[in-house]
């Protein structure tokens, strides 16, 4: 089996797992770093390894537009193109088509849309998405789906879930890369019965893992947990579960307590570029004038390259001057901070203290939201 639950928590639904992929095993719960265009922004493969990153996420939509499938095929796939030898998960492009591109026509086969870069027209449906993910050669491919916005009325949600299920089946029926795992995506918005129905139908089709999509799209935090709770009980215990687009520390901990194993988010790299550090005690605006003379590291006790070597004073100066090095050092730190948080979480599950750990972590990291 590609997924093994190594330990189940008793006080919560948290579990410790091992996910085997063609490019190595992944310890779960795991946070995956987003490498939109074939690079986790500002970082190199060696930085990822150093910060404890396990999985890189590639965006099918972005890579379809630039550099396009032919260029990546010429390199022999995304791993060789970007020189990341670890596991890669690719999304289906559905989310970006519906949120970023200009929709031209939506049919049973998929969507015709205009690129947000230059207006060039593309078509993406289950067939095209799977073909692109096959070219990318990702370890985990996601089915093509429609991500519902929040709020969304019931009739639209029903119609969309039906479409997502037909696309899920069509995605599964396409040929995949050697050893590529394929994950289904549970949609249904805030409607618990739709979530359950979607989960049950996906399980009938049968996937290597199951994502919960359409959360962290602007809904209140409690709605997100309700969506997770409405989906997880109907997913197989021996398959990995993945909440898409989530990277806030205490929210990941809450989802893990509800039985989730995987996460991804652009937050750590994006807020780094805006001058914000993620720390175990909340977010810190390193650009702030209060750090101008501060000789301490971005985060006390952190062993990342940034914190081992540089002061807040120096990093603040670089950010104030828009120096590339400032963005890069904070990105290194933020990725490291999130990966360390997940490592801590796994250790807490392993030694049976996860519930207490989570309660404390929620208090400590509340300001990360």
């Amino acid at each position: 089996m590609h997924f093994q639950v190594l330990k189940e928590d008793t006080a919560t639904k948290a579990r410790l797992g091992l996910l085997r992929t063609p490019h190595g095993a992944v310890e779960t719960p795991v946070f995956m770093d987003v490498g939109t265009l074939g690079t986790v922004k500002a970082l190199e493969p060696r930085d990822l390894a150093e910060t404890g990153a396990q999985v890189v996420l590639g965006n099918t939509y972005h890579l379809l537009l630039r550099p396009g499938p032919d260029v990546i095929a010429a390199a022999g796939g995304l791993h060789r193109f970007m020189r990341w030898d670890g596991p890669i998960l690719t999304d289906s492009g559905g989310f970006q088509v519906f949120s970023l591109a200009k929709m031209r026509k939506l049919t049973e086969e998929g969507c015709r849309f205009s690129s947000h870069i230059d207006g060039h027209e593309f078509f993406l449906g289950p067939k095209e998405s799977m073909a692109m993910q096959r070219v990318l050669g990702s370890d985990i491919a996601m089915v093509f789906d429609e991500c519902l916005p929040y709020p969304c009325d019931r009739p639209r949600a029903e119609k969309s879930v039906a479409q997502t299920l037909r696309w899920a089946r069509a995605s599964k029926d396409q040929p995949h890369a050697d050893g590529q795992l394929v994950f289904g995506i549970v949609q249904g918005g805030v409607y618990a019965d739709l979530r359950r129905m979607c989960a049950e139908e996906l399980v009938k089709i049968g996937f290597d893992g199951y994502a919960i999509g359409g959360v962290s799209v602007g809904e209140p935090e409690e709605e997100m947990y309700r969506a997770v709770d409405a989906s997880v009980p109907f997913l197989p215990k021996d398959s990995p579960r993945y909440v898409m687009g989530l990277g806030v520390m205490h929210q990941m901990a809450e989802c893990v307590a509800r039985g989730v194993d995987m996460f991804d988010c652009v937050i750590p790299t994006r807020i780094a570029r805006h001058g914000t550090a993620i720390t175990r005690k909340g977010n810190v605006a390193i650009k702030a004038a209060k750090w101008i003379f501060d000789q301490g590291p971005v985060e006390e006790g952190c062993d990342c390259y940034c914190c081992r070597n540089f002061s807040r004073s120096y990093v603040r100066h670089l950010l104030a001057c828009n120096e590339i090095l400032g963005l890069r050092l904070l990105t290194i730190h933020n990725v490291c901070a999130l990966n360390r948080f997940m490592k801590e979480m796994r250790a807490a599950i392993a030694d049976g203290t996860f519930f207490e750990w989570k309660e404390q972590a929620r208090k400590d990291t509340k300001s990360n939201a």
Copy 2:
């Protein structure tokens, strides 16, 4: 003595030297990487070490404006602020005051000017420049001077050289950091007799090294060599000679043949950010569409991190998408390419083949200009 000539070429005036500084010895001829604001743009200290960089240049003007002397003093100097343990040379700020800032008032004591960032007023003269360079704690400080533009008429050049000489003496008379070497700067524009007079007067004052300033400011290449030829014969053989602001491969080789030991320039880092690679066979626009499928490295045979790992196809893609990693990889390559060129040059002097090497290098690298 802080400078030792290890070998003199017989066919040219090239020499192999060793310059001892408080932060280590420098093999000359050397190219120094420019770290304007306390970072060689996009690079970390560990990258500099890996690319064979020996000396980092810090800009007194830029660091005076941001973050200012108090912040650097709080860190214990520029080495500790930016975590570069090797030698640092700082310029005097004169060049930027006259080229970048808005001049308010010029007196015997120096210049009142408005910052090019926010219009804030500052005063910089020999006293203030030396005080700032003492705070920076550089291994080599440059005297405060006026860099003449090109073209410049004779009366103005005469007046300026007289001013530069008075400022040179005043700079020498200021207190300096422990072990800090102080270099004079030969000015005089295209007027050979002014260059000679300036050089002779500086030698009378007595400095640890001598720069040739006011070259590579827009004059024809032959004028630059004439300015070097008009200065070098009047400088001590046992002192290092430094042509400021020059970083074009064949021009550095020509200057070395004329007895020059040190160079600096923003070229390798600046053109990297514009998508151009420096190679031993000329400059290459990596952004060009012709590289879209190219699986070769940026430069065949190069052992830098960029060339060891990534294809032109990948780097071109990153540059096309304005990904930070693209700028960074090309910067790593360009710095490495220039440092390797200087290493090759030193080897050619050491084994007595410098003249032939230089003639071939001029042909090979002409397109770098």
